[in-house]
């Protein structure tokens, strides 16, 4: 990736040798990515990241198929890049159905089927949830979409490189992914667009990406994306096994060592790298800051850390009370996470929870 910042600085749209060198590099990356998800090379569009891919897929299809209808189906637990795009389209005259999830965060394909109307032009359901890690029955939903002739998009930002993906097996027409979620560079993503799918471009002003995405290529980013996929190909199977083991240890440890704690999301159908727990009577941001001081980085769905001061929409959708959302913590495991790291969290977290609970007026009442 680095040489493309300096020595190999050509613009892939240029005809000269420097340009062609860069063009080769991005086409090689495209080939690697396509192979990895069972797609054709020309079905891969490089973008600036998951958010752009989701925006492009949803708005692009909505506007391209407006003559067919104005109804879109998605879920209540999508990433904001999907939800807010849908909210925007609602203001433009589209209608959106937001499918609920069960207590584990799973979407029932039957609910998707029920929501279909004669005006439905697109279904967009995420592959796995970014907060609680729940994996959705994408292939089944895709099958329903196919039967009805409705385009199907999945936000696979959380899963590319972490779970095997085959676009044919998943029955998807469009798929979004982002480089930095698989150890690649930030600011680069892909949108898989199945051959024959009608989609208007989001960016105009150039012939790049077969006119599906104007703008000069982010060559280093794209090359880095390709490399990240190449590495994921080698590492993924081993990583899934290793992280599933560590995930189990962390979840069990938290539930065993801390009273009034619960797991959020599905116990089995979840991303190998995701642990999300709610700890009653201790607030999420306080736990996060304390953990950070001990060198442990995590995130929380607490209202206190959101810019809207609303608790996480995902935790609300699985039926968590505001209090439980308030005490939620998400730990993401990765390629570099070791068993010692998990042990360290299990040593530090109970201590922090004790400290915060000693300060909490809620805990005393509960214990009494």
């Amino acid at each position: 990736m680095l040489p493309f910042f300096s020595k190999m600085y050509g613009n892939p749209s240029s005809l000269h040798a420097f340009g062609q060198e860069a063009k080769h590099a991005i086409e090689e990356a495209r080939y690697i990515v396509a192979q990895f998800i069972g797609a054709q090379q020309e079905e891969i569009v490089f973008t600036s990241g998951g958010t752009e891919s989701n925006n492009t897929a949803i708005k692009g299809v909505a506007y391209a198929r407006r003559d067919k209808g104005n109804h879109i189906i998605t879920s209540k637990i999508e990433h904001h890049a999907v939800l807010e795009t849908c909210h925007f389209l609602e203001k433009q005259g589209f209608e959106v159905a937001y499918i609920p999830v069960d207590e584990f965060g799973v979407i029932d394909p039957a609910d998707v089927k029920k929501a279909i109307t004669e005006k439905t032009i697109l279904i967009s359901i995420m592959h796995a949830n970014n907060e609680i890690g729940t994996i959705q029955p994408i292939a089944e939903i895709g099958k329903i979409a196919r039967e009805w002739g409705i385009y199907f998009h999945t936000d696979a930002v959380q899963t590319l490189g972490h779970l095997p993906i085959d676009v044919s097996e998943l029955n998807v027409d469009l798929l979004s992914a982002s480089g930095h979620k698989l150890y690649g560079p930030k600011g680069v993503g892909i949108l898989y667009v199945k051959k024959g799918i009608r989609m208007l471009p989001f960016m105009h002003g150039g012939d790049q990406e077969q006119r599906r995405r104007a703008s000069t290529h982010n060559v280093p980013g794209i090359v880095g994306f390709g490399k990240a996929v190449e590495l994921a190909k080698e590492e993924m199977a081993r990583e899934i096994e290793q992280l599933t083991l560590l995930r189990g240890k962390l979840i069990k440890g938290v539930l065993d060592k801390i009273e009034y704690a619960r797991l959020n999301g599905h116990p089995k159908e979840r991303l190998p790298n995701n642990v999300n727990v709610s700890i009653s009577y201790a607030e999420g941001e306080s736990m996060l800051l304390n953990l950070d001081m001990e060198g442990i980085a995590c995130s929380t769905g607490s209202a206190c850390t959101s810019s809207s001061l609303e608790p996480s929409h995902v935790l609300a959708a699985i039926g968590l009370s505001n209090e439980l959302a308030h005490g939620s913590l998400r730990f993401s495991l990765g390629r570099l996470t070791s068993e010692e790291d998990v042990g360290y969290v299990l040593e530090v977290l109970p201590r922090i929870v004790r400290k915060l609970r000693a300060m909490s007026p809620l805990y005393r009442k509960e214990v009494k």
Binding site: E283, C304, E323, M359, P361, Y363
Partner: protein
Amino acid sequence: MEYSEKVMEHFRNPRNVGEIENPDGVGKVGNPVCGDIMELYIKVKDGVVTDAKFKTFGCGAAIATSSMVTELVKNKTIDEALKISNRAVADALGGLPPIKMHCSLLAEEALKKALDDYRGRISIPASGKPVRKLQIG
């Protein structure tokens, strides 16, 4: 969002955590904005707040403002204590991120409630010296 050094210092080592036995005033408030909860206890002698303690369920800002308000109120007369505003608490902490200013309101409200509670418990006879009301029930 970033907290000031002072906020982090009070968050790490909060002052006056706990409850006071037989307090002279208690203020319990919940923050309708984010769900944080704070309880403030005060001890008053001769019209001066001699001790203050708190229990808080909330974020870093909620804990730091709780800690700071207990520090600010100690050794203040009731009139002086009533003048402690959320802005004063935030300023004493070297400021709060704008989105966290509502946390300082929690501290101010808890203090006002504790002071009101104290004033409700006493009566002011002609002598001008406060005496404790008989608690019924």
